[in-house]
Amino acid sequence: MAPSSTQHVLLSPAELSYIHASLSHNPPIRPDGRSATQFRPLTAECDILPGTNGSARITFADGTEAVVGVKAEVEKSRAPYQVTQDELIGGDGEAQRAGLNEWVELSVEIPGFRDDDSMPVFLAAMMSEALLADGEFTKRLWINRRFHWKLYLDILLLSPPLSYPLPLLSLTAHLALLSTRLPRLKSELDEDPLFDDDWDASVYLYPRNKQSLLHRPPVTLLVMAVSDNIIFDASKEELAVADVVLAVSVGERPRSNEGDMEVDSGKVRDLRLLTVRTVDPPSRLTSSGVPNVLNTATGGTAATTTEKASSQREAMVEEGVWQPPRGGAKRKLIAAMISKVLEQGGVAEEVMDGLDGVELG
C-alpha cells in the first residue's frame, strides 16, 4: 500500500558505486559484514492454521513476512482422452499413477497489487513451474483412477514488498507443503474414496521415515553476481548494484531404495536443478553518475544535446563513477552461479536442512 517510490532504493550514484566496488572486492565486503553465502536470520513456524491441511509463516530479518495455507479437496478425475490397453487391463497400480498439472492451483496475494497485476501472476507462475517441473508432486495427489486430490496453495505476502519477494514466498510454500497432511485412505482400489475421520491417523504429503524426509518439495533461491563474486540472500541495497540476478529452483531426486538408506545416506542429498530464470536487476533502473570531465561544475565540458551527452557517457568507463549495468551476463558466470547453488554442502542443502529442522506441530 505504500507508494511505489519506496520500493526503489534511494541511493546516490556515489553510494551505488561504493557498494559495487566493495562487493567486487575479493572476498566481497557486504554492507552488513556477512560472508557471500551467509543468510540473514529468519523465524519460521509451521501448522499455525488448524483449519488448513498445511500452513507456515516465515519472517525475514528485514521485516517482510509471508503466510501460506494449503487446502485439499477430493475431485473426480476426468477420463483420459486415450485409454490404452494396458490401463484397461488394470496393470500395476504404481505404474498407472500419473498426475496432471491442473490438480495444483497456486495463487499469490501481495498487498497493494491487484490480482491481475504482473507481479503476483508472474510469481505464481514461477513457483508453480518449480513445483510441477519434475512431475513427482502431482503423483502424490492420485487417489485412484476415478478421484484425485486437488491442492490449493494460497500464498499471502503480509508486508509490502520491500525486496524481491520470491525467495521468501518459495521458502514459506516449501515449509507449508512439508507440514501438509491428508486424511488416511480407508477404501480400496477404485471405489468411492472413504477416509479415516481420525486426524491423528492422517498421512503427511511428504512422508518422513525415522531419519529424514524421503523427498522434498523444491526451493527457489535468488542468486546475484557482482563482477565475479556470487552472493546469496542479497539485501535491497545489494540488489540495487547487481550485475546479474537469477532465480534458481532446486529440487531433490527421490531416493530409490527407501529402506536401507539409513546408515550411509548421512547428509548427502541428490539435488537437481529444476528451473532457472533471469530476473531484471533493479540496478538497471538507477541513474548514472556524472564524471568530472563532463561536468561544468568541476571544470569539464558538458555536452550540448542529450544525444551527445548519452553517447559520451556510454563511451566512458571510469572507475568509481556509477553506471547501471548494460548487456547480459557471461555464460561462464551463469554456469558458476548454478553450480554454486547445487554443490554438495552448499547453500541449497543448508537451506533445506534448516527448513527440515522446523518443528512440525
Binding site: 500500500m1 505504500a2 507508494p3 492454521l49 488448524p50 483449519g51 488448513t52 500452513s55 528485514d62 521485516g63 517482510t64 513476512e65 503466510v67 495455507g69 494449503v70 487446502k71 479437496e73 495463487s107 496475494e109 498487498p111 491487484r114 490480482d115 490449493y152 494460497d154 499471502l156 503480509l158 508486508s159 520491500l162
Partner: protein, 249 residues
C-alpha cells in the same frame, strides 16, 4: 439447528459448551509486524485476523484537505473457510465491510491533526468462524493504537443474537453473545461496536430479519460484551507497554 440439541433445552449450553452470555476465547497481540507502523493479530474463537497500519503518510490527491484520509483494504484468504473459496477484492460484501470500517474510524480517530495525509489499514482474514466484522474492528483498533494514531477511545465490537427465529412468537427467546459461524447461519444476529466500552454505539449492523421486540435485548447484551472486550484489549495494550518499558531499563 445449532440450538436443537438437547444440551440447550436441558442445560442451556450451546454447541461449544458456552452459556448465553459467555464470550469465546479472545487473544490478541500488538506489534506483530515490525516493518509496519502499527500491527496486531487478534483471535476471537476461531476467527483469526491480522491487521497492519501505515500512516499517517503523504497522501496523493486525497479527497479532504483539512483532515487525514483513511483507506481500508480487507483481504480474505482462500483458506479461511471450511471450503477453499477465492474471494476477489472487488466483492460487494468486502467493499461494504471496508466502507463500514472507514466510516467508523473517520469519526473516532483525530484526523484533523493530520491534514493532507493518508492512513492505510490493511486487514488479512486468516480464518473465519463468525463475528467477522467485530474481529476486524477490534484488530484495527489495536493496530491503530500500536501505530500511535490519536483517537477518542477504543472501538470494541462483538456480535449478539437471539435464540428465536423471526417468525416464532415465543416469549422465552434468549439473547446470545458472540456467535460462531454455525449459529450465525441459523439465528438472527447483529454486530455492535461501542466507543470506549460505555453506552455510545459507534457501529450497528444487522443483516438478518428479527422481531423488533428482540432487538433491545440483543443490543443490551452486545453492549455489555463490548465492555468486556474493551477490558481484554486494554489489558493487551498495557501488557505490551510494560514490556517495552522493561526492555529499555
Amino acid at each position: 439447528m445449532p440450538l436443537d440439541t438437547s444440551s440447550y433445552t436441558l442445560a442451556l449450553l450451546r454447541l461449544d459448551g458456552r452459556r448465553w452470555n459467555e464470550l469465546r476465547r479472545i487473544t490478541a497481540q500488538i506489534s506483530t509486524t515490525p516493518s509496519a507502523d502499527g500491527s496486531s493479530y487478534l483471535e476471537m474463537g476461531n476467527t483469526k485476523v491480522l491487521c497492519t497500519v501505515s500512516g499517517p503518510i503523504e497522501g496523493q490527491g486525497t479527497r479532504e484537505r483539512d483532515r487525514a484520509d483513511i483507506r481500508v483494504e480487507i483481504g480474505v484468504a482462500g483458506f479461511s473457510g471450511v471450503d477453499r473459496k477465492r474471494v476477489g477484492r472487488g466483492d460487494k460484501r468486502i467493499a461494504e465491510l471496508q466502507s463500514t470500517l472507514q466510516n467508523t474510524f473517520a469519526s473516532s480517530l483525530l484526523t484533523t491533526l493530520f491534514p493532507h495525509s493518508l492512513i492505510n489499514i490493511n486487514l488479512h482474514v486468516l480464518s473465519q468462524d463468525g463475528s467477522l466484522l467485530a474481529a476486524l474492528l477490534n484488530a484495527s483498533t489495536l493496530a491503530l493504537i500500536d501505530a500511535g494514531i490519536p483517537m477518542l477511545n477504543y472501538i470494541t465490537a462483538c456480535t449478539a443474537g437471539s435464540t428465536s427465529s423471526y417468525s416464532s412468537n415465543d416469549e422465552a427467546a434468549d439473547p446470545l453473545l458472540d456467535l460462531n459461524s454455525a449459529e450465525e447461519q441459523e439465528l438472527p444476529f447483529l454486530t455492535v461496536a461501542t466507543l470506549g466500552g460505555g453506552d455510545e454505539v459507534a457501529v450497528l449492523v444487522c443483516e438478518t430479519r428479527v422481531q423488533l421486540g428482540r432487538v433491545e435485548g440483543m443490543l443490551a447484551v452486545g453492549v455489555d460484551g463490548c465492555k468486556q472486550i474493551r477490558e481484554i484489549l486494554d489489558g493487551v495494550v498495557r501488557e505490551s507497554g510494560k514490556k517495552v518499558l522493561q526492555s529499555r531499563v
